[in-house]
């Protein structure tokens, strides 16, 4: 980047799915576009590199989706998972535009898996990227490069010049040098703040030290914080995040999909005192895994242990970390650094409380306990078949909900209720408009794609006309 500040039509801050969709969409309309990606090239793509599919409305089966998934059903799913904390107008926009996402992906070289029923039974609602999100990002970056989008890696935006809702430039550190990138419009697509440990500590206190960040270490929320400071209207609960139970041995950042653990509903989960604290069998795992991050975050030292026995050891997706294995509960407790007597008491009480029923891990089988606090509602079987397996669990944060409010043209809404003149937002930084809380698989990528395209289109229209 030269010392002489070059003037671009559109600056895109961020380098994930929403950012690239915005850049491609603006470039398609003739704008001169620069993408400022904080990460080095090897880690480009934000959290999109850890994704694998996109939720997609469709009226009839396609080569990548089975059956149909109507606008009404999709919208109902969004309203259900968010408990109504969604801007219905924007949600409907996302749902409708999602139908065109597969064609858009292919237009820029992305590849989708044929609908065959893979690992997850989501082929009806979700289109799967061949090779996952990183492969899709590779395709988008290659297309952007081909089309003449300027891409700058290792570009840390540390300040925004936005006065009265008008963007003038972004201060950037790149290759150890400070520069100002000027553009006639800006698209904010730099994600949430889940990897900003100080920010997390402001909300959760010292407990945040024990959180694991599932995705990129580059989502520090700097752009989000700057834009809120510049008078953007916030949206989404600032103190909430999407968190699941991950293996406590996962790396602090970027462990992605392989650190999750699906053993929870098949056994019991205890805290560091060896005590159960929540109904492990409340509902099917895909509907419950996202509450376990918060549950563990509220336990002492933010740690928990999933314990299963040999009966169910092969019925969940293999974990990347080997289980702690022992031939008795006491020995397992010692391996997990728990008090053996406490764990033995918990397991014994649990085993006594199990009611006779026929176990079936594939359905809500009604195998439950009685007289415990808390009880287990499904898949309760005595834990009595050695060897016993134990996995340590920590809260693993996927994303945060706080964002900037936007309208249907992806314009950032300022605190005075007026849209900013030339500031647009897409992706996780505005996902809270649609997803005030909760989550449903693949919707983050849909929001990013739909609003990325809108933001790029509107930014280009603002500049090029």
């Amino acid at each position: 980047m030269s010392h002489d500040p070059e003037l671009f039509d559109v600056a895109v801050l961020g380098g994930g799915n929403a950012a690239l969709c915005a850049a491609l969409s603006a470039r398609e309309r003739g704008a001169r576009v620069v993408v400022l990606e904080t990460a080095p090239r090897a880690f480009r793509g934000g959290n999109s590199r850890h994704t694998r599919n996109l939720r997609c409305m469709h009226d009839a089966p396609t080569d990548v989706l089975t059956d149909s998934y109507s606008e009404q059903e999709y919208l109902a799913d969004l309203i259900r998972v968010t408990g109504g904390q969604t801007d219905e107008m924007l949600a409907r926009l996302v749902v409708r535009d999602s139908a065109t996402c597969p064609a858009w992906i292919r237009q820029f070289g992305g590849r989708l898996q044929p609908a065959l029923g893979g690992t997850l039974q989501l082929d009806r609602t979700n289109a799967f990227f061949l090779g996952g999100g990183k492969a899709l990002m590779n395709s988008y970056y290659a297309a952007a490069d081909r089309l003449g989008v300027r891409i700058v890696y290792d570009a840390q935006v540390f300040a925004l010049d936005v006065v009265d809702g008008r963007f003038g430039g972004a201060s950037v550190v790149t290759s150890g040098r400070e520069t100002v990138v000027r553009a006639n419009a800006v698209v904010l697509a730099a994600g949430g703040f889940e990897s900003n440990l100080e920010w997390l500590k402001e909300i959760w206190g010292d407990a945040a030290d024990n959180f694991i960040i599932r995705g990129t270490p580059y989502n520090t929320g700097t752009v989000l914080k700057q834009m809120l400071a510049c008078g953007a209207q916030p949206v989404g609960d600032p103190a909430q995040c999407h968190a699941i139970a991950v293996d406590a041995r996962a790396p602090k950042f970027d462990g992605g999909i392989v650190t999750r653990l699906d053993s929870v509903p098949l056994g019991i989960v205890v805290n560091k005192h060896g005590e159960r604290f929540y109904d492990e069998g409340e509902d099917v795992w895909p509907k419950r895994y996202a509450i376990w991050g918060q549950l563990i975050a509220r336990q002492p030292d933010q740690i928990a242990y999933s314990i299963v026995d040999a009966k169910v050891a092969r019925t969940f997706m293999p974990s990347v970390f080997p289980p702690m294995v022992a031939s008795s509960i006491g020995e397992l407790a010692r391996r997990l650094s728990l008090a053996p007597a406490a764990l033995e008491d918990t397991v014994a009480a649990f085993n006594r409380a199990v009611q006779p029923a026929s176990f079936n891990h594939a359905v809500l089988d009604g195998c439950r306990t009685e007289g415990l606090t808390p009880n287990k509602s499904n898949w309760a079987q005595p834990i009595d078949a050695p060897p016993y397996w134990g996995y340590p669990l920590r809260p693993g944060i996927t994303f945060t909900y706080l964002g900037v409010k936007v309208d249907d043209r992806a314009r950032v809404i300022m605190t005075n209720g007026q849209p900013a003149a030339n500031v647009f937002a897409a992706g996780e930084i505005m996902a809270g408009n649609v997803l005030g809380k909760g989550y449903v698989a693949g919707v983050g990528m849909t929001i990013g794609t739909v609003f990325g395209r809108i933001a790029g289109r509107e930014a280009a229209a603002h500049v090029v006309g």
Partner: protein
């Protein structure tokens, strides 16, 4: 050899893949991984030979270096694959040939040259009128090549049997309910083998997702597949040419040299052209190969075999063109030496990949049929 370190590393990589599964749409390796829980020597040898080294899964991998998990599936597979060639090779003491490919090639060439020179009849002052058998008498040539062929076929057959035994000692796939009953069924065995051969002959899994072969990240072109086809089918045509010529000689008593429009010469010329185009293309592509995909320098393993194929064809075509001239005797000797070297190195070089991969594809087709049933 499939050492403890290699197996341990392979197990680690495959465990990460099995917990991720994002690559399951690329090729058969990943569905095969998903039906296993642990990865022992036999599993890894099977998976590594099922892998066509397209490279796509490296670029798609969220855990690829510099990520701390450092997952590089093509490189791991490459290491296991070469180790499996050594592990199952016969006789075992020649397993070092794979890592000393250039030496192996030179020794084979020297052996070929000495054998031909010893077999050479007494010279009659360079007047051969295109008759090869005046240089090397027919019976001597047949005896020499029969001996070489017997050795080579024995080595290949034993190697394949060892490989099959090795990959049969895999960990039990998760779902295999109807496997034993069906595997003994002849019709089942025939149809699955036919499907596997078809996938092998079309190199279906070299172009993942139905598009071109991967040269580098987001760079795909059909060339690798086409050059491989030219090489393989060129080899097949040359082999057919020799077979037809043998039938001409033995059955009909028609002696070489055959006319330029005769079947052996036409087959040999087309096949020879394939063996010039294919190997030179593959060599050229190697120069553009992404270094991230290769581990320790294995290039000699590929290039030695490719070079031998090319030179065998080149000397053969030169011999054809100049057979009426004075250079014929010298060319024949050189060509035969290359042919012998090529055949001697078949069990100890890259050629075995075709045998092992086909066997792995057959295992995969049979395994897969038990998943869906």
């Amino acid at each position: 050899m499939l050492s403890g370190d290699l197996v341990q590393h392979g197990h680690h990589v495959m465990t990460v893949c099995n917990a991720c599964r994002y690559c399951e749409g690329y090729c058969p390796v990943f569905p095969a991984v998903e039906h296993r829980l642990t990865f022992a020597k036999g599993d890894l040898a099977y998976l590594a030979n099922l892998c066509h080294d397209c490279g796509e899964c490296l670029y798609a991998c969220q855990y690829a270096p510099p990520h701390e998990f450092g997952i590089n599936v093509p490189r791991m597979m490459d290491g296991i694959r070469v180790a499996s060639y050594e592990e199952y090779c016969w006789p075992r003491f020649l397993s070092g040939a794979f890592t000393h490919q250039r030496l192996t090639t030179m020794v084979s060439l020297a052996a070929g040259l000495i054998a031909v020179l010893l077999a050479k009849g007494s010279s009659r002052g360079g007047v051969y009128a295109g008759d090869f058998y005046l240089v090397v008498p027919h019976d001597v040539m047949v005896t020499l090549f029969a001996a070489v062929a017997l050795f080579v076929v024995t080595a290949l057959v034993i190697g394949r049997a060892r490989f099959l035994r090795g990959i049969a000692e895999d960990t039990v796939p998760v779902v295999q309910a109807s496997r034993p009953a069906r595997e003994t069924n002849l019709r089942f065995r025939m149809t699955t083998a036919a499907r596997a051969f078809c996938d092998g002959l079309t190199l279906k899994h070299l172009h993942t997702g139905g598009v071109d072969c991967t040269l580098a990240e987001e760079a795909r072109a059909p060339w690798r597949r086409w050059f491989h086809h030219a090489t393989f089918y060129g080899f097949v045509l040359c082999f057919a040419s020799t077979t037809v010529a043998a039938i001409y000689h033995v059955v009909f008593g028609w002696r070489a040299p055959y006319g330029y429009t005769s079947l052996p010469v036409v087959l040999g010329t087309i096949g020879g052209a394939g063996l010039l185009i294919g190997p030179s293309g593959l060599l050229a592509l190697r120069r553009h190969r992404d270094p991230d995909r290769d581990g320790a320098d294995r290039s000699a393993l590929d290039t030695s075999f490719i070079a031998l194929l090319f030179l065998t064809s080149l000397t053969g075509l030169l011999l054809l063109a100049l057979r009426e001239g004075p250079a014929m005797a010298a060319l024949l000797i050189v060509h035969l030496a290359f042919v012998i070297a090529l055949f001697l190195t078949l069990p100890y070089g890259k050629f075995v990949h075709g045998i092992y991969r086909t066997a792995a594809l057959v295992k995969y087709t049979r395994e897969r049929s038990t998943w869906t049933s």
